[in-house]
């Protein structure tokens, strides 16, 4: 587990503290869960996933060269 600090607007920090208190979680847990949830939502974006895979295929020669660098 790595430690990091983040800067948040005052209002956002207050909301986050309130949610963490209500759910009996630490703010760190709340932030981790929020980031993970955001990633899960984005991962269901089929257009994005398709485009990322297509890019990896289109630039395969460059990727192979970097992978052996």
């Amino acid at each position: 587990m790595r430690t990091m600090s983040i800067r948040l607007p005052e209002e956002t920090a207050e909301v986050l503290e309130a949610i963490a208190r209500a759910e009996d979680m630490t703010i760190a847990d709340e932030v981790r869960a929020a980031i993970h949830e955001h990633i899960k939502r984005r991962s269901s974006d089929k257009a994005l996933r398709g485009r990322l895979r297509e890019q990896a295929t289109r630039y395969q020669a460059v990727v192979d060269r970097l992978a052996s660098s």
Binding site: R2, M4, I6, I35, I39, R42
Partner: protein, 135 residues
């Protein structure tokens, strides 16, 4: 046109596809603070002025930051470079542009990652190779 930047979720998804690992595993590998710092670099504003412009310069600093800061914990340099490059590609395309598949591209990317080529020099090399996407 307003520039659209990548965030940590994009980075994790690029990593998942590039390294052929599950999204949860890519998330676990990602040093979130380091990734955030690198992903935010192209959007840096000082005294109300964007530091990095135009798009080629933003793309150059994005790749350089990801390749040099190495946000993937425990992964080799090569993986960091592959993911950084594919983030560059997605950043360019998300902003309506496309990067030419130049035969010297890989050498440029390695040079930047190793600190042999500076961000500005790389941006100058990139600029004529980024053009509007053809439908």
């Amino acid at each position: 046109m307003e520039v659209v930047y990548l965030d940590v979720a994009d980075f994790v998804l690029v990593t998942s596809d590039a390294l052929n690992i599950e999204v949860d595993e890519a998330f676990r590998l990602t040093a979130l603070g380091i990734a955030e710092t690198a992903l935010e670099r192209p959007a840096l504003v000082v005294a109300d002025t964007e530091v990095y412009r135009p798009l080629a310069m933003k793309a150059a600093v994005l790749y350089a930051a990801l390749a040099r800061y190495r946000p993937l914990v425990g992964r080799p340099e090569a993986d960091q470079r592959v993911v950084a490059f594919l983030c560059l590609v997605e950043f360019v395309e998300r902003n309506g542009m496309e990067l030419d598949l130049d035969p010297d591209l890989a050498e440029q990317l390695v040079g930047v990652a190793e600190g042999l080529i500076g961000d500005s020099e790389f941006a100058q090399w990139l600029a004529p190779r980024i053009h509007e996407r053809t439908p």
